[in-house]
Structure formats: C-alpha cells, structure tokens
C-alpha cells in the first residue's frame, strides 16, 4: 500500500542506529511497516530496502520466511484458532467450524467489514488452556462457543481493548526488575571473556568496538 511515513522513517533511523550493520535492523523495520499498514506492503519493503542499502528481494526473502509478517491485508483482528492435538481433543476443530459459521468466512478469509480474519494454527503453546486461540496474538483459553461469541461481540462493541493487527512489535514482555538480565546497548557492553581471550591469542589487529 504505502511507503513508511516520515514519522516511521525517524523511528526506523533510530532502530538502524542501534546495530553495527544496517542490515541487522531488517526484522524490526518489518514490524514497523506492519504496524503502520496492518501488513507489510510491497512499497514498504522497497522503502526498507532503500533504508538498509539492500535489495527489495532480500527484504522479501526475510519477510516471507516469517508467517506472522502478512504480505496481504488482513482484518483488523486476526483470530488464530489452534487445532493441534491438545486443542483438537478439547474441541478446537468444532470451535473453528463455529467461528467460520458465525463470522461467515472460511479459515484464511476476512469478513466483509474488514474486522476479522480467521486462521487455523498449529500449537500456540497454551495446551493447559485448550481449546485456545489468539486475537492479534493476545491469548484466550478454555473456550467454548458461548465464550467465543462473547469475545467477538465485545470486540465489535469496542469493550475489549485489543489494538489493531500489526502491533506485534509493541507486545512487550513484562519482566520484573529483579529478573531482568541487564542487557545493555552494544556500546555499553563489555566484550565477553572468551572473545578477549581469543583476540589476545591472535595477532590480528582488529579493534573491538565493544570496548570503546
């Protein structure tokens, strides 16, 4: 649909500056594009290629590798219903059929109002909550037809605060302070011990930027 907006470009440049090689910023920039349009548009991929000094097909190669980067527009709410073994035993397939019937679309399709896209997915690692699904990658578990209909109607009425599709990059883990691993930006990180040891062993004159 569109190239990155000027606001997104400013953010993109900040992201690019975090990495020693521009190309490393590819995946974060794909998230940025998906946040902007709800999917990764061809024009956005070309724009990313320009920003990273690579070719558009290299962007496409990475983008198409990951299922969660959508290259075609999807509904505002992407509903992933698990039909893998645990969920299947607990009625996942019936749930999928119910969803298809109530929303009037087949798996992979989008409702006419552009609100919902259904996908059946493999295990989403919440077997204890089977049958489960994700709406824009937010979990809902122990579902039945009634609960499913309730979630859909609450979304339609605006009662459930789920941001529109494309904000995967904004989904943050909430790690308590005491459990943080203390990852610092590269310029503040000290070189790992093994690296220093290997460098002193070799006669190479490579300078370690990390120690600046």
């Amino acid at each position: 649909m569109s190239r990155l907006t000027s606001a997104a470009v400013i953010e993109a440049e900040e992201i690019i500056a975090r990495y020693p090689r521009k190309k490393s910023a590819l995946i974060p920039l794909l998230h940025l594009a998906q946040a902007q349009d709800g999917y990764v548009a061809d024009d956005a991929m070309e724009h990313i290629a320009e920003l990273l000094d690579i070719t558009p097909v290299e962007v496409l190669g990475t983008c198409s590798f990951y299922e969660m980067f959508k290259r075609e527009p999807v509904g505002k709410y992407l509903v992933n219903i698990c039909t893998n073994i645990s969920c299947q035993l607990m009625g996942g397939e019936e749930l999928l059929h119910h969803a298809e019937k109530t929303l009037g679309i087949k798996s992979g399709g989008t409702t006419e109002d552009g609100m919902f896209t259904i996908e059946d997915v493999e295990c989403i690692a919440a077997c204890t909550e089977a049958p489960c699904m994700q709406v824009n990658y937010r979990y809902a578990g122990r579902l039945d037809e009634v609960r499913f209909d309730k979630i859909v109607s609450e979304i339609r009425e605006g009662k459930l605060a789920i941001p529109a599709h494309g904000n995967l990059g904004d989904v943050k883990q909430h790690i308590p302070q005491e459990r943080e691993s203390g990852i610092k930006p590269p310029e503040q990180t000290e070189a790992p011990a093994w690296f220093v040891r290997r460098m002193s062993e070799s006669e190479s004159e490579v300078t370690i930027n990390a120690n600046k």
């Binding site: 070309e46 070719t55 496409l60 198409s64 590798f65």
Partner: protein, 805 residues
C-alpha cells in the same frame, strides 16, 4: 574413477589423511571435496561450486568421515581436511546417505526430462543414475508452480525443477553483486524468485543458467533450440570486448545455439557477461546481408556478383583511399588487411579504432599487467576512466571479488562513480579536464595535507596496476594520457591494463592496423625489426575525407557515424567521398551510405586468433559455415590482393597461401609462454609526452559521454533478445547541481550550447561528479554527440528547467 586409477600427481607433503584406505596429503585448509577431486575420487555434488563459497545446502556430497571420534556422515564441501582424517566415499553408510538425499531431492522434482533443456547434461540426472535409488517410494502429488516464469528478458525460471541449491542466488549476491533473486517463503513452499516488478536485470544473468544443476533456469535464446547430445563445440574467445573471456561455442545443425563460459584461471573464471554469452543471435538475424550489394541510383540495394564487387572495390582502393575499422577482426585478418592495404594498394591512411578509445601509441608505451598480476593479494588497483562493469564486465567480477574480500585496494578516478565505489578505498569524482590534476593530487603529498584523504596513494608502495579506459568522448583524449604520464612518473614500477571497448584492439596494434610507430614481426616470422607503420588517426582521415581529399573510404566493420565523437564530421566525410565500401554483416547508419557492401563472416564462422587487453593470445574457433555468399575477411583481403593494380604476383600468392591457411602473423620471439598460455611481449618505450590544454572555464556543466554495456551497437541491435535491453536516453546530474539550476525531478530539462539545443529527460544521481552532465553514448532517443565540437578540449553545456509536463 578410484584413487588408484588416477593419473594426477599426488602431493607428498601437507595434511596427511586417508581416503578410501589410501594414505594421501591435502593442502592446509583445503576442503575435503577438493582434496578428493585432486586425488581422482569424485564426490557427487549440486550446490558446491569451486568459484563460490560453500554453503552445504544440497547434502549430496555427504561422505563418511572419521576424525578420531568414530565415523560420521558429513558434507565434504563444508569440511576442511584435518590430520589423520579417515574418509570413506564408497562405504555402505555413504551410499545409503547419497541414495537417501537423492530420493528426497527427486520427491518434488518433475519427471519432465524429455522436454527439459538440461536433459542429457543434467547433474541431477547423472547423479540419480550413478548414486540414486532407481525407484521412488514417493507416490504423493509433487509440488506445483506456474511453469516457466520470466525472471528477466533473458532467463526463465521453472520453480518445480529447482532443488534449492543456492547456486544462482549465491552467484547473484556474492559474485555479481546484483542480489535480485532470493529464496522466498519457507519450508516446502521455498522458491527462488524476484521481487514483484524487479526483474533479474543483471549483466551476468546467463551465468546462473550455466551453473544451475537442474533445468530450473533456462536461457530464453537457447530454450528448445537443441539437445545437449546434438551439440558440438569449439573452444573460442569472446570478442565483444577486450577481456578475452574463454568460451565454448556450441552449434547444432550448423547454427550457433549456445555459448558457455570456460573456467580459465588466468582470465574469466568461467563467468561471462550476457553480451558475451548471447551475442551469437545476430548470426542468424533476418537482416543479415548475405550477398554482395551495390547501391542503385535510387538509393536501394541490389545484389551483385562477388567478382564485380571485388573488381569495383579494387578499383576504388586504387584511387586515394583510406580505411577505418578492423578492431573486431581476427589477428590474421587484421594482418592481411594491413598488408593488402599498405603493400598492394599503397593506402597510407588506416585506423582500426574509431577515435573513441584510448590511442594505440599511448597503450604501446606502457608496461602491461596481466589480470593475475593486477588482482594479486596485497596490491593496489587504480581505475582511471569508466566503470569497468560497463566496459569489461567479466573482468569486473574478478576485480569485485578481490576488492570485496579486502585483498586488493581499489582507488578510482572517474566522472561518475563506478559500481565498486562503496567498496573502494577512495573513489575520486573528477571533472573533464581535471583528471591529471586529481591523479597527481592523490599521489603527491603537499606538506600539511598529508592526512587529507585525497592523497590516498602517497604512502603506498604496494604493487600498483592502473586499469584505464577513455573516460569521455566529449573531451580531448589527452587528459587521460596526461593522467597516465603522471602515474608513470611518480610510480615508474606501475603496470597498466587498457580496457578497450572493441575486442581485438591489441591485435590490431600488433598487426599494424593502428597508426603509430612500433616494432612488428616481419614476413619470415623470425626477425623482429623496427617498422614505421604509417596509418593515420580516424579523426584526421575523416577530416581529410570531409575536405574532399579522399576518394574511397573502406569501412572494416566500422560505424563511424554512431561511434566517432564528432557525428557531424563523420557524416560530412561519408558524404564527401566518392565511394564508400563497407565490409560488414548488417546495415547501420554508416553502411547506409555505402556504395558497395561486402558481406563478411561473423563470430563463430571464422578461425583465427584474438589478443586481449593483457596481450594474451587465444584462439577463435570456426564452429559453423558462414551462410549465403558470405566470405571471411581473410578471403576478401586475399582476393583483393589478387586484383590489385600494382600487384606483385609472388608476394601476393605467398600472402594468400600463408594467410588463408591461417598461419599466425606473430613472430614466436614475441611470445611469452607460460602454463597459462601465450602472451605477447609488448616492448615498452617512453610514453609520448602530451601536454593537454588547460581546460577553459565556462558557466554550465561539463559534458561527459560514457558507455553502457547495452547500446545500439550493430551486433547488439541485430540480436533478437539483446536489442530490447538498450535503455532510453536520460542524462544524469548531481543533486547539488539540480538544486543550483532549479531542476525538478520528473520534468524534462533543456540542455544547450553553441552547437545544439535539446529537451531531454533527466535524473539526479549522486554518483555523478558535481559540475558534470553525464550522458550515455549511443542509446535510444537522443545522441549527445550533437553537443560536441571535436576541436574543443572540454565540452560545456548549459541546463535549465524545461516546461512542466
């Protein structure tokens, strides 16, 4: 073949390892697959290619290896030989693994071999026969894709046949630097493809077809033209430029149908540019002239008999005659033409190059480098002139390789940065008239300025090679000569490598078909003596012709109207002469004014020799019969000798017999023989001092006319597939200049000077130097030479915003 049958000389030092029970030695750091190859043990492979980095994608080369921790299956293309390694390539485990890999590769591979271009020379077929299970247990539906999709004008991709070996994509990104094809999607949907609407428009796309181990990539010009077992080939050399790439010319039913790159260590490493690879299409063009023609009174062409054509030519050459062209002929033909013109017809004005290249005298006086010498690790390459990718594309790949891996430093001086500017140690954007000044600046340190990065070549004492080409036909050639003089005076040890646009320019120099004084071999091929070769630069020939001092002009495959820097002068010259005789295969703007056309044999139709820009002698093979009544240059020249008015019959007949048989006109004394082949020893003498004019300073931009690989050259225009690749005319201006002159992108601009005014499309391009207007030569739409006055050393143009569209 097993190790015991191998006749290869086995190394006795190095890393000891055991291969199928034999005690052998490998080089330090050598890949196992290479060590096995050297010892005569073939390991099947798909993705491994010795000119590219290994990736271990296909798993076909898995062998059983014991490094002391027990036998394990490992891909031999990813494994360096380590001491006491035990390798079993014939064991049950190895065979099982190979069998399994092949069964899986074939699970999704269509069985359309009978209609596949690769069938008969297909590594997948061969390996399936030799190592495969013979029968598939896979009964499910194979994956399907749309049958061939064009990924460029030249290459078609059949994704069903692809085994995902990564050879083409690796070539595109690592070797060619045109990463326009890539793996798309994942798992069983993985496919090679381009970005939508971004075709694989690479100068090197044909190489991916040659290295594809299956029939997934096929070349549009060759598709369904022949079966591999019908092909017969002759080793030859590419002649579209002066790189001297080694090729195999293949024919079927007496038609050239394919040209494959040959892996020559010293030259092209197996790679070819698409121009070198697909140029043969012109041979069978419908527009080819197949019999002698004469121009009737009404301007139309009518056929004539060879005897009449030769008689008319001979009579015309007997009057005040001059000849232009011949830089694309075989060395033998050049030699005979020179003899016939000078000795039989006493013609004193001839020049093989067309005033748009580096002059022969300059090149003659410089010590030459070989490609190997230039690209040896630890040396410096200085490119002066045009982007090597547009002039010598196959050699550009070698330069790119060594610059990319950091083993060679690149410094370039040009008006529009080359394709390697980003990898170069320094890319100096110069301006017409200032080349020598900028080169001097780079080599000489002014006190206090030592840290300035313009002085990038001051401190280096590494071996230095200068690769030079005429940077711009809209300025005097003296500026380049002056720049070369500067380098030679600062670095007397520097070697030089000319990048000529026309193939056999060095051959023409050796044969004495270019103006100047130099040593050439004499008839008896033993004594080398100083001979004053007359000749005359094309510019002077055309000026004389325009003044009415020339009666006959002989064009030896030359098109001065399209190539000579001053188009008006070339047209005036062709108008003014009484008779124009064209020895050519096609009509082109210059041939259009020919009175007599002698149809001549083309590439792949004549035997002979070629001398590349290093001076390397290589063969040109005749693979097919020349069509129609076409004759070779040698035949035409020798027949003319017979009809020459002052013909000395003895000299003539010896000339005819010796040269029609194709004996070499090169004295053996002039050859330097090595394991890489023969190279002409070029005598060096002091460079002829040139003092170029100080460029006048004027308002406006300095015009640069540079070359693109795809232009409207006669042969490209007559090749069906290639003709469409020529771009349309567009000038390029640095964004700063565009701002200065208030030019808006998308609109046309008005370019004018005293000679011409034109409204042309433009784009901004930061690779163009400031103060320069860069225009491509001989492309569709507009001819920038209309701005050029030949006598002025630098051409200025004024630009202004055109009307908004």
């Amino acid at each position: 073949m097993t190790a015991t049958e191998s006749s290869a000389v086995k190394a006795t030092t190095g890393v000891p390892f055991t291969l199928n029970g034999q005690e052998l030695h490998a080089e330090e750091g050598e890949l196992l697959i290479e060590a096995c190859d050297k010892n005569g043990v073939h390991i099947p492979r798909f993705c491994y290619h010795k000119r590219m980095e290994s990736v271990g994608m296909c798993r076909m080369c898995i062998v059983e290896v014991d490094t002391g921790r027990g036998p394990a299956l490992q891909p031999s293309c990813m494994l360096t030989v380590t001491p006491e390694m035990k390798v079993e390539t014939e064991s049950e485990a190895t065979k099982d693994a190979q069998d399994g890999v092949l069964e899986l590769l074939l699970a999704n591979h269509p069985l359309d071999c009978p209609v596949c271009d690769k069938g008969g020379e297909c590594p997948l077929q061969d390996n399936a026969f030799a190592y495969g299970p013979g029968e598939s247990r896979f009964v499910e539906e194979k994956r399907h894709f749309e049958k061939p999709i064009p990924i460029s004008d030249l290459v078609k991709l059949d994704r069903e046949r692809c085994i995902l070996c990564d050879r083409c994509t690796r070539f595109a990104s690592d070797v060619a630097g045109d990463s326009l094809i890539h793996f798309i999607d994942r798992g069983s949907s993985t496919q090679v493809n381009t970005f939508p609407d971004h075709p694989f428009a690479s100068y090197y796309s044909g190489n991916t077809v040659q290295i594809c181990p299956v029939g997934a990539l096929t070349a549009a010009p060759y598709r369904f033209k022949a079966r591999p077992w019908d092909l017969t080939g002759s080793p030859s050399t590419a002649t579209v430029d002066s790189s001297g790439s080694r090729v195999l010319v293949q024919s079927s039913q007496d038609k050239v149908v394919r040209i494959q790159g040959v892996d020559s260590d010293a030259v092209n490493w197996g790679w070819l540019s698409d121009k070198e690879r697909f140029i043969y299409e012109a041979n069978v063009s419908e527009d080819r002239i197949l019999q002698p023609m004469r121009r009737a009174v009404d301007g139309s062409l009518e056929p004539m008999r060879w005897n009449d054509a030769l008689k008319q030519t001979s009579e015309a050459l007997g009057k005040k005659a001059a000849a232009i062209g011949g830089a694309r002929l075989t060395l033998e033909a050049q030699h005979v033409w020179q003899k016939v013109l000078a000795d039989e017809f006493s013609v004193v004005s001839y020049d093989a190059s067309l005033g748009d290249d580096v002059s022969a005298d300059v090149v003659d006086s410089l010590p030459k480098a070989t490609y190997d010498w230039a690209f040896n690790a630890g040396s410096v390459v200085v490119v002066v002139g045009q982007d090597l990718k547009e002039i010598l594309p196959s050699i550009y790949l070698r330069l790119r390789g060594v610059v990319k891996d950091g083993s060679v430093e690149l410094v370039e001086f040009n008006y529009k940065s080359g394709s390697l500017a980003k990898l170069a140690r320094k890319s100096v954007q110069s301006r017409p008239g200032e080349l020598a000044k900028d080169v001097k600046q780079a080599f000489t340190a002014t006190p206090g300025e030592r840290s300035s990065d313009l002085n990038c070549l001051v401190d280096t004492d590494k071996p230095l090679t200068v690769i030079f080409s005429r940077p711009n036909v809209a300025e005097s050639a003296d500026y380049l000569t002056e720049a070369l003089q500067v380098i030679q005076s600062v670095r007397p040890d520097a070697h030089f490598l000319p990048a000529f646009r026309r193939g056999n320019t060095v051959g023409a120099q050796l044969a004495g078909l270019t103006p100047g004084v130099r040593e050439v071999a004499t008839e008896d091929e033993i004594i080398v003596e100083q001979v004053a070769v007359v000749g005359r630069p094309t510019a002077e020939i055309l000026q004389e012709a325009a003044n009415g001092e020339v009666e006959t002009l002989l064009l030896l495959g030359a098109d001065p109207i399209s190539d000579f820097p001053d188009k008006a002068l070339a047209e005036a010259a062709l108008d003014a002469v009484n008779t124009v005789i064209a020895v050519d295969c096609f009509e082109n703007p210059s041939v259009a004014s020919a009175n007599v056309i002698l149809p001549v044999a083309m590439y792949g139709e004549v035997n002979g020799h070629f001398v590349n820009s290093e001076g390397r002698l290589s063969p040109l093979g005749a693979r097919v019969t020349a069509p129609g009544l076409v004759r070779s240059d040698l035949e035409i020249a020798a027949s003319l000798a017979k009809t020459a008015p002052q013909s000395n019959s003895d000299a003539q007949s010896s000339l005819e017999t010796s040269h029609m048989l194709g004996s070499e006109p090169i004295a053996w004394d002039l050859l330097e023989l090595s394991s890489e082949g023969a190279r002409i020893k070029t005598p060096t003498k002091p460079i002829q001092r040139v003092k170029a004019d100080v460029p006048t300073v004027a308002d406006g931009l300095r015009l640069v006319i540079g070359n693109k690989l795809w232009d409207q050259g006669t042969i490209v225009e007559n090749s069906r597939t290639l003709a469409g690749l020529c771009e349309t005319f567009k000038v390029r201006i640095n964004p700063a200049d565009a701002d200065r002159f208030g030019l808006t992108a998308g609109a046309e601009i008005v370019v004018k000077n005293a000679k011409a005014t034109a409204s042309v499309p433009f784009i901004t391009d930061s690779s163009v130097a400031e103060g320069v207007l860069w225009a491509p030569a001989n492309v569709r739409g507009f001819d920038p030479r209309s701005f050029v006055t030949f006598s002025e050393s630098v051409c200025y143009v004024e630009v202004s915003a055109g009307e908004q569209k």
